[in-house]
């Protein structure tokens, strides 16, 4: 390492091992929970962990993927950096899916992997893998430590980089010799890295331009994403929305940034978003994008996306500006700062007739889709009615975690999120298997909150071994399995776009309740509507973890839908007859 300075305050250095230094560094970063799995190359750190177990809780998962998704759930709910420990080789490669997921969903993580002794690097030693090379495209930063002395400064940088600016995963690979070796330990938090500008400086001129556009607009429309949550700017955002009087719609990761029942919250954007929000995207005269990145699942065909509108983009990551959609005004900076500055410059307005257009469009969706989903009259149970009962029983006061697929879209569409940081789902990567471990991590982060997992039968079986972890911690996660015996979303696409050729989407499932009970978790299965509400009540009342399987109508589809390649204004409400 080259020129680095520490602002020193006469502290005594102590002589300790690298492994001990790792644990002390984590403690200095305020880490009290680690998710991980031991193995050969990380044994010295695991040994040091025993001496710090009074301050640092370690959750032993059943697979490294379970550890990283749990750390993601923990980070998303707590706002803190999630920490993962894994060994070299397969331990490290098993983290990759979670790292990629955290990268695309901007989740702050520090992953510490063991590595073979430095002298063996490049020799194809036992459990040696180039995890630095493998993780390079999916980490915000990574670094291989080969000398004990590097440990405190690199860990300090890792936490600083993971949590600052647009957050993301950082991986630190520590050779075994650096864990065993000794150093004079002193810990100072990192406050700056020369080559890294986490938050661009807001330009007052852009705020003025944006305010002028907002003040002149006749049909303005706000799109908000996870940037509001990551910036801890929910209150600032709400103040902006209320003063501007502008209808606001969310991306999947922005869902809980504004309460679902807020009068200006007009719903979800994109492929399985609301009818009104998609249609109105192509009718508004001004789009104000706040902390979102114009993902293809939000925009549909870019060539026909909001071409009539002027566009303002509030964004912390300069590289997101003009990436997918060309914008007229880019307000760079942290929304926690830029939103209040913008709010101060805009006029207090209301857009009643424009808002009414959204509500009129909603009536169409309520009639054609929502009523059938939430209050079905057919025999088979729908995912929507399960969510509706959860709404009634919790009032939206719960942390909801999902896996990926139809149930995820239904949950996003219908759960009445009432609180900040109350939704954890895999957005950008769409990682099946994310749900169960992420829900566990969420419950560890918020033991006093009701944490409800909504999961499908496909995704559950990708990380089902984490039921064992939940049994060990007794974290009271409430697991709702929406079992339709299919990989439902793929099946829906096969039905709609592949002439109902159901290629490899049917699952012969185990008796899930028995599996849950085998793992020591209380379970119940619901087959018919009359039992559903009582079963959900029983689940919510239960003190420990609980597994509720709901047998769902096999071939239900999620609507509305903006098919791939279609424009948002071509959103469809029902299958073609």
């Amino acid at each position: 390492m080259k020129k680095q300075i520490s602002i020193k305050k006469n502290k005594k250095k102590i002589r300790i091992t690298g492994a001990d230094a790792v644990m002390r560094s984590l403690a200095r970063e305020g880490v009290d929970t680690i998710f991980g799995y031991p193995g050969g190359a990380i044994m010295p750190i695991y040994d040091a962990l025993m001496d710090h177990s009074d301050k640092t809780k370690h959750i032993l998962t059943r697979h490294e993927q379970g550890a990283i998704h749990a750390a993601q759930g923990y980070a998303r709910v707590s706002g803190k950096v999630g920490v993962v420990l894994a060994t070299s080789g397969p331990g490290a490669t098993n983290l990759i899916t979670g790292i990629a997921d955290a990268m695309i969903d901007s989740t702050p993580l520090v992953c510490i992997t063991g590595q073979v002794t430095a002298s063996l690097l490049g020799s194809d030693a036992f459990q040696e893998t180039d995890v630095i090379g493998i993780s390079m495209p999916v980490t915000k930063w990574n670094y291989q430590i080969t000398k004990s002395e590097e440990i405190p400064e690199i860990i300090a940088q890792a936490f600083y980089i993971a949590r600052s600016g647009r957050p993301g995963p950082v991986l630190i690979d520590i050779a075994k010799n650096a864990q065993f070796g000794e150093l004079d330990f002193e810990y100072n938090k990192c406050i700056k890295v020369r080559s890294y500008v986490p938050v661009p400086k807001p330009d007052p001129e852009t705020i003025k331009e944006a305010a002028d556009l907002i003040n002149q607009a006749k049909k303005p429309f706000i799109l908000f994403g996870q940037g509001v949550i990551l910036g801890e700017a929910e209150d600032e955002f709400r103040a902006f929305v209320e003063k501007s009087g502008i209808p606001a719609a969310w991306t999947i990761l922005g869902a809980c940034a504004l309460p679902r029942k807020h009068p200006l919250n007009v719903g979800m954007l994109g492929m399985h978003g609301n009818y009104s929000t998609n249609i109105k995207t192509n009718e508004c005269d001004l789009l104000i994008a706040v902390g979102m990145r114009f993902d293809d699942r939000v925009t549909g065909d870019l060539k026909r996306y909001a071409k009539q509108a002027r566009i303002i983009h509030l964004e912390i990551d300069r590289s997101e500006v003009n990436k997918n959609v060309r914008v007229e005004v880019a307000v760079l900076g942290d929304v926690k700062v830029t939103l209040p500055a913008l709010t101060a410059r805009i006029k207090k307005r209301s857009h009643d007739s424009w808002l009414r257009e959204f509500r009129d469009a909603d009536k169409i969706e309520i009639k054609k889709v929502i009523t059938k989903d939430l209050f079905p009259t057919k025999e088979g149970l729908t995912m929507g009615e399960v969510i509706q009962i959860l709404n009634e029983k919790t009032g939206g006061n719960a942390i909801v975690v999902t896996d990926v697929g139809q149930h995820q879209m239904v949950t996003s569409r219908y759960f009445n999120f009432a609180n900040k940081r109350s939704y954890v789902t895999s957005g950008g990567l769409g990682t099946m298997g994310f749900g169960l471990p992420a829900a566990h991590g969420a419950k560890i982060a918020a033991p006093e909150e009701e944490v409800i997992l909504i999961v499908g039968d496909g995704g559950l079986q990708m990380t089902i071994q984490e039921l064992g972890t939940i049994n060990q911690t007794q974290a009271a996660v409430k697991i709702v399995l929406m079992n339709n015996k299919y990989l439902g979303m793929v099946r829906q696409w096969q039905e709609m776009f592949f002439e109902k050729r159901y290629s490899e989407t049917y699952l012969l499932n185990p008796d899930f309740v028995k599996v849950a009970e085998g793992f020591g978790i209380k379970g119940r299965k619901v087959l018919h509507r009359p039992e559903l509400a009582a079963a959900i009540q029983e689940m919510l009342d239960y003190k420990g973890p609980y597994f509720l399987e709901v047998s769902i109508e096999k071939e239900d589809n999620v609507f509305p839908m903006v098919p791939t390649g279609a424009s948002v204004s071509e959103v469809i409400l029902e299958p073609k007859k």
Binding site: K3, I7, I161, C190
Partner: protein, 192 residues
């Protein structure tokens, strides 16, 4: 290829990207991944020290659309260890490449023609050995390729060329201004 303003079909043209970074292991890999993922082919790449001590400079030549190049440059700049990245069209930079040719010395001894060719092309002889002579040509790609064409009749034994090096036409390196604000300390730690 790179001639005149470097514009060709499909709105693509030649751009010289310069990135200034810390001198860390693996950074070249981080940078090339950005190109690979977006199917942008690197025409040439030079890694060298910069005018500022401790800071490395990547000079990368690509042929692509402005939009693609803008994206690639913003992704490069986003890398934690990169301080700043720029892109320029051929009009905005003065650039050179260097080519080395190895030809049999026999051709030099047996007549004046090869010497005249070397003079005409503003090339120079670096070394003469009984078996071969090494010729150096600095210039644009099309210039050294033209020389290559003429040397072919003497049977070129070896040919190699460098990546591009470039300076901007503006009077000062844009980067020095930036660095003044960034400071010289790579990382700052504070007691808390």
């Amino acid at each position: 290829m790179a001639s005149g303003n470097g514009i060709n079909g499909n709105g693509k043209q030649t751009y010289t990207i310069s990135a200034f970074s810390e001198n860390h292991i693996g950074l070249l890999n981080r940078i090339t991944i950005i190109f690979t993922r977006r199917h942008v082919n690197i025409e040439s790449l030079t890694v060298s020290v910069s005018a500022i001590k401790g800071i490395h400079k990547f000079t990368i030549v690509v042929n692509d659309t402005r939009e693609k190049v803008e994206q690639v440059v913003s992704q490069i700049e986003k890398l934690v260890e990169v301080l700043k990245a720029f892109y320029h069209t051929d009009d905005e930079v003065i650039y050179q490449e260097i080519a080395l040719f190895k030809v049999p010395t026999k051709a030099l001894i047996e007549g004046d023609e090869l010497e005249a060719t070397i003079r005409k092309h503003n090339a120079r002889i670096l070394e003469v050995r009984p078996e071969y002579t090494v010729i150096e040509k600095t210039g644009y790609k099309e210039e050294y390729l033209a020389l290559f064409d003429e040397l072919e009749k003497y049977k070129v034994l070896q040919f190699t060329s460098s990546g591009r090096v470039a300076v901007t036409r503006s009077s000062k390196e844009l980067f020095s201004t930036y660095l003044k604000e960034a400071g010289e300390i790579t990382a700052v730690y504070e007691n808390n």
